[in-house]
Amino acid sequence: MAKITLVDGINMALGRALADDPDVVLIGEDIGINGGVFRATAGLQQKFGTLRVQDTPLAEGLIAGMAVGMAAQGMKVVAEIQFMGFLYPALDQVANHMARLRNRTRGRITCPVVIRMPHGGGIHAPEHHSESLEVLFCHHAGLRVVCPSTPARAYGLLLAAIREPDPVIFLEPTRLYRMAKQDVSDDGKALPLDQAFVMRAGDDVTIVTWGAMTYETLQAAEQLGQEGINAEVIDLTSLSPIDHDTILDSVAHTGRLVIVHEAARNAGLGAEIAATVAEKALYDLLAPIERVTGYDTVMPYFALERAYIPTVARIVEGVRRTLQG
């Protein structure tokens, strides 16, 4: 077993899927000889050829649309959108066709497609490279949305996503691509979809987060721990469907809930988590729910991106408010 990064985990899963199943095809921009701008597909075209690891023309709408047609023919398409801000032209195909064809045709035509894309900021990139737009996908029935926060989960969940007979949006935390390091063996084992992971057990407060924010959240939890405040940290991982049971169990135990996400607050996914708890576990709550999120502004150019992304200090403050509440 080798210590690998999250992007290595992605690359390993893609290589494994291509080797295991001749119907798996990768499409995207600069994923071929260039190996992707984050190197997620490095070496794969050399190994599997230009048809199975294909550079497309520069058009995200086309990428999603051709994926539908290929998938309808039984190919398992793994498409890459180079940065999350570029997903918009693909959304028509994702929402109006990919998510609907199985239902529309009563199961006759299906869309086993995985759409991978970086998620979130923190790498000093230009505008549109640092967005957190998960909720645009989560609101649409017929899609699964996954966001792993460790190399092992990136590997296991990407394999699961590729093997799933329906479309899966796979969000890769940009600033974790090279940060997180972990022992991961290329054993071809998929991890279960639709499940949240408890990263840290605690009794005093539940913190739900996902993606890169998991790291700031764990740091905040450590800091609070030194003051004797024990936070339970849940990495949501499956953004749609949401594993509400894991959250409700935790809140039943802690009585306090803080939700941390990088996306804008207004109509962000945190709202769905808070709303569900307010519906199903109101009487478990000892204090108002807190959301620590990106602001309701445009993601700023990178000079200020760290002022937008929730910090350890803001998370700690949010937790403190629930403890006073």
Partner: protein, 360 residues
């Protein structure tokens, strides 16, 4: 300045409006069986259209998109395709779909607002009707890509309207088809109108066929009211694609003789004279005249066919009206192969709430 590239667009017509050949005809145009089969299918479309519109007017069907005027284009394309090819229709190309095995009952069921109408028992791989204009074209390119990757000698046929060619999705797929020499055919049905917008306002291009040039894909115009020419041109394009020589854009010039849909009133925006002129060149007349000139058709055969079709349509309508009406649970049962756990709760709630109330 030196010239570095040159292009030309040609127009094909084999039968004039009077049904007299205007050029040398292909072999199938002398084959009674094939000609009669095509004509009969065109007539079925025309008769079915009238029935469907009547069902809608009498509240027995939802909004319906008629195909009257398009029969030659739709049947010509259908007759040119092979079973193993895959069709990506818009919403009014019944002639092609019926030729390939879609049933009248399935068509009615779809327009009744019931998804089960899209679950064709034949042809299983053809795409259903596509409402978001232009969005079906990349699907065809994707299927063609799958054929290419697998080395299958199959073609994808994408329909798009004159209005649909204004969507970026059409052009993006066209550009991919050219770049990758995909085995596909783009059939642009230029019927003069996109609801109320005339083709002349839709684009500054002199022809729709020339749009292919932007993707390095050859384009050709055909008289879309001439079923012989449409079939011949489409067969040639499909052969070319099967030979691995890439895609073709076919502009079929026809006319939407009906309203856009039963929800539309075309008299609001187009002159009666234009419609009257279009009726003079519509496809049924010339096809029948040509068949009769060969002695393949006559009045009694016409009468017999109309009775057959009327019966077939009645049977289909009855099957439609007596079909099983799905319960509310179908909203939930086809979303996922592996439904997320939470969905069951909502499904139960929907079942508890019961069947839909009447609209107020």
């Amino acid at each position: 300045m030196k010239t570095v590239a040159q292009f030309a667009i040609a127009f094909e017509q084999l039968l004039g409006p009077d049904g007299v050949a205007t050029a040398a005809l292909p072999p199938f145009a002398k084959d009674a069986a094939q000609l009669v089969k095509m004509y009969r299918m065109m007539a079925l479309c025309r008769m079915f259209d009238a029935k469907a519109i009547n069902l809608q007017r009498t509240g027995k069907l939802g909004t319906y998109a008629p195909c009257t005027g398009h029969e030659a284009t739709h049947v010509g394309v259908g007759a040119a395709m092979r079973t193993e090819d895959v069709l990506f229709p818009v919403y009014r190309e019944y002639g092609t779909q019926l030729w390939r095995g879609v049933t009248l009952t399935e068509i009615l069921t779809y327009w009744a607002g019931d998804e089960s109408g899209t679950n064709f028992s034949v042809p299983r791989e053809d795409f259903p009707w596509c409402v978001p204009i232009g969005s079906q074209v990349p699907h065809a390119a994707g299927a063609a890509m799958a054929f290419k990757i697998r080395g299958q000698a199959r073609c994808a046929v994408a329909y798009v309207g004159d209005g649909g060619t204004s969507q970026g999705a059409f052009y993006e797929a066209l550009n991919l088809a050219g770049a990758q020499r995909l085995p596909m055919v783009f059939v642009i049905v230029n019927n003069g109108w996109a609801i109320s917008v005339p083709a002349s306002a839709q684009t500054g291009a002199e022809t729709f066929a020339q749009k292919g040039i932007a993707g390095g894909v050859p384009g050709v115009q055909v008289d879309g009211n001439d079923v012989i020419a449409v079939r011949a041109i489409t067969e040639a394009a499909l052969d070319r694609a099967r030979r691995g020589e890439g895609a073709t854009v076919i502009e079929a010039i026809t006319y939407r003789l009906s309203d856009h849909t039963t929800a539309d009133d075309a008299t609001r925006y187009r002159p009666a004279a234009q419609v009257a002129a279009a009726w003079k060149v519509e496809p049924m007349l010339r096809t029948r005249a040509y068949l009769e000139s060969l002695g393949f058709w006559n009045e009694s055969m016409e009468a017999a066919m109309r009775t057959d079709h009327a019966t077939a349509i009645d049977i289909a309508v009855r099957a439609y009206q007596e079909r099983h009406i799905p319960g509310v649970e179908v909203m939930f049962d086809y979303l996922f192969a592996n439904p997320p756990a939470g969905l069951a709760e909502q499904r139960d709630a929907a079942l508890h709430a019961g069947p839909p109330p009447q609209a107020h």
